[in-house]
């Protein structure tokens, strides 16, 4: 059965077309919905999965993701919480990750105050480059993603910051629950250990993607929809293209199909 997946957009969301295309090609039934319309219709329930794509919602003003997040938690907080509680899969890509963090849904599944932050990259710049990712969890959402995969990042605010003073404590909790899904690593799979450019943002503990404790909400900075065909890989002309983004999205669609 092909799951209905809500692809949310607001002003400035701009990776929606390729995300919709990827989901459709994987057999899902994606529907692109403007946040204002969702607020009007409150139809979240009708879907089996939710994807918040990348982009610059509301121009990344105030903080990336903050305005769209408030819009969601203020006007649709209850619906969103129920969706998450029911274990329906949610994927936030790049700006979508930032939105999920700002709603509080990531990492602990509770709509409310954010428990971590995605801050300006250590380089203080927007940066677009391909990275290697280490798979650290068996969340179903990651599908058949291999231990080391490749996808591109493109963001200015992708640095995961845990509460200063309590960072280790929070990290331990995340690790205990297997919530760190993806870490930046070297081509051979060693964690980047904060080193640029393997870890392009300076993200804490090389975190590139996080899930909720039940593994059903995934937020990630890299863009799987841009790693969807081998010919989008930077070395495809040498015959070294991969399609890891497709693999990951397949996992998501399958999971939604079961929801």
């Amino acid at each position: 059965m092909s799951p209905r997946i809500l692809v949310l957009r607001g002003p400035g969301t701009n990776c929606d077309a390729e995300t919709v295309h990827a989901l459709r090609e994987l057999g899902a039934e994606p529907e692109l919905v403007h946040v204002r319309r969702l607020v009007r219709t409150r139809a979240l329930e009708a879907f089996e999965g939710l994807v918040i794509p990348g982009g610059f919602s509301y121009g990344d003003r105030i903080r990336s993701g903050a305005v769209l997040a408030r819009m969601l938690s203020h006007a649709l907080g209850r619906e969103l919480q129920r969706f998450v509680d029911e274990g329906k899969p949610v994927l936030g890509i790049c700006n979508g990750f930032q939105v999920l963090v700002e709603t509080g849904v990531l990492p602990f599944g509770q709509v409310g105050e954010p428990a971590l932050a995605l801050m300006k990259n250590a380089s203080a710049r927007f940066e677009a480059r391909w990275v290697h990712l280490l798979r650290c969890s068996d969340s179903e959402l990651l599908g058949e993603l291999p231990e080391v995969s490749e996808m591109p990042v493109a963001n200015a605010e992708g640095r995961v910051v845990l509460p200063p003073g309590r960072a280790q404590e929070v990290l331990d909790e995340l690790l205990q629950n297997s919530q760190v899904a993806l870490r930046y690593c070297t081509p051979s799979g060693e964690p980047a250990e904060g080193r640029y450019p393997a870890n392009p943002s300076g993200s804490f503990w090389d975190i590139a993607g996080l899930t909720t404790p039940n593994g059903r909400v995934l937020g990630m900075m890299p863009h799987p929809e841009r790693a969807f065909s081998a010919y989008l890989h930077p070395c495809w002309t040498s015959g070294r293209g991969t399609e890891h983004g497709r693999v990951l999205l397949q996992g998501f669609v399958r999971c939604a199909g079961r929801a």
């Binding site: 002003p11 400035g12 610059f56 927007f126 940066e127 863009h223 989008l232 070395c235 040498s238």
Partner: protein
Amino acid sequence: MPAERVPLLDADDEALLRLSRQRQLALSLEEMRAIQRHYRSLGREPTDVELETFAQTWSEHCVHKTFRGVIEYEGEVIRSLLRSTIARVTEELSPDWCFSVFEDNAGIVDFEGDYAIAFKVETHNHPSAIEPFGGAATGVGGVIRDILGVWGEPIANTDVLCFGPLDYPYERLPQGIKHPRFIFTHVVAGIGSYGNNMGIPTVNGAVLFDESYVGNPLVYCGTLGLVKKSCYMRSATPGDVLLLVGGRTGRDGIHGVTFASTELEEDAEEAFGTAVQIGDPIEEEKIKRAILQVRDERLGSAITDLGGGGLSSAVGEQAHRFGCGARVHLERVPLKYAGMKPWEIWVSESQERMLLIVPRRNLERVLEIFREEEVEASEIGELIPERVLRVYYGSEKVAEIDMDFLFGGLPEVRRKAEWAPPPLEEPEFEPPEPGEALLRVLSMPNVASKEEVIRTYDHEVKAQTVLKPLQGCFSGPGDAAVLKPLRHSWRGVAVSCGINPEYGKIDPYWMAASAIDEAVRNNLAVGGSRIALLDNFCWGSPEKPRNLGALVRAAKACYDIARAYGTPFISGKDSLYNESPMGSVTPTLLISAVGILEDVRRAVSMDFKERGASVYVLGMSRRELGGSQYYRMLGFLGRSVPRVVPQEARRTFRGVEEGIRRGLIRACHDVSEGGVGVALAEMCFSGGVGAEVELSRMPAESMRVDELLFSESNSRFIVEVARGMEEEFEELLRGCGAVFARLGVTGGRELVVRYEGREVVSLELERLRESWQSGVRV
């Protein structure tokens, strides 16, 4: 807020000029007199709104007086340089795949089925000089609107940037001029910010440095778009509604057009402070969505962007195009704040606005679409059958202009042009050690890696960028980007550019020829074919005969070379008052090229792919190092500028095209700045594969080893041919009549260059890469 009557009828010449200056009209005495005569015949004084309309519509920026005027050059009388050179190429070639050329906001060529590709490149130099972030950002925003203005969906951006040297001493900066480094960082940030926010990948460009850009940087912004021919609506008729959509109108951007048509002076910041804008890409992103919806439902009858001249030019030009007139009610224009005078509303260049023309029966649905995207849309008037422009503010008529005079009354501009070759000499010197020289040339700012710039631009959003600006597993400098814009088709678009102002210092003719050659060969190198060109001239004042002479020479080369190559021009633009207290900019011609690939899976990148493959050079190398990076590194300019031999070049081009189509070529890189030495080095470190070559095999005029390595002769390529394919490849090239030689093989971790068996360069890939990467730091 009434309009003002401007006393003109009795003004003497001096008063006319004073008026033009005080009101920042940038109109010449001739033009002021023509307006005066017109109003004398009407027996009334013009209103300020009317006068402003002439200033905008008759500005260099809007009508290209110089390019369309009369030029006397070496006993020759040229009527319309544009028609006799650039446009003539296209006219004579008259390719059936050109859908729209020179008449729209962008040039449009067929792509596949109902789909066509639109391409436009603009400059935003003066705004970027005084507010580099906002100037560059709104440059991007503006050219994107050019694409929306042909009902196109923007799919990629390009940017070519020219700055003063980044290490320019502060003490030498004239008052009011910003440091090149400040301009550089903010321009790059502005371009990235607009494109990234709108979700349009920036896929191709260049960054150049020269002293003449210190006072007047150049910022070229380009956008490619996807057009559906069946939804290309251009058939407005009287009665159709003028719908202003997008952001609100404010005082910002007033007189941008006249600003662009004036020289930058020390007090520019004060005088044109209102021309400064920051831009709001999110607003434009919303507009884009709404316009594409209107397009898909075929609800409009015409569309245009609001750029230079604001409403005054947009409304006037549209009415003119459809052979009618227009009635406009300025009080209906949504404003950012109260207190704007009618003429200010009429000429404001506030960003993120478009003008749609909509048959009345579709109006309701169009308004609904804009409401859905949260974009303001206001009916401000309509087209009328009479050829007159009537502008109202409330019940007051603030302008009534005869369209025929507005578009036909501009006195012909007559200018003198002259050109003499500058007194230059070829240098004599003791050549440095070639390996050392290669490392230094690799780190010359114009050659060095622009990675730190490129990575601040999202070049992959939309997931259509098949060949990226940085290519190979080790991110080398690609020749062109390739996009795959349609989901259901493997057909691709190749985008490239060519620019080399150094050559123009010796001879603008060969600079233009070289720029075309470079744009074309960059495009061919990735597998592009059926190439179309755009020209963008950035020149100093054409009122200086020398500048104009250089312009004429460059334009003639455009005709000669593009005609010989069979590559039509489809659009272009000139920016002619690039002057600062430090003088004119070096005449700079940017050529952008767009080509087609049958199948993107056949695209070729520039990095060496595997060991043991054969390395070839294609094309003839000549002793022409004038303007080369090698000379520049040694402090020379020289005079032996690279030329183009079109017949010879075409044979090489055929070989490359066919070699790629047949899958014989595994890697291909054009030879440009830094010559064969730099091209080889780049191919090696981008692929992580070394090479061993023998220079004496190069088909070349007799010259020294360093000259062989660094000559920048045009129309040349280095290619890698898969093992076992050599024979077929050589046969193909012979069949094309191309000049070529097998230089050596790939392999190892070094670039080894020999001359008659003697090793002249032996450098590890790492060292080559490091030099290349050390050149330009953000």
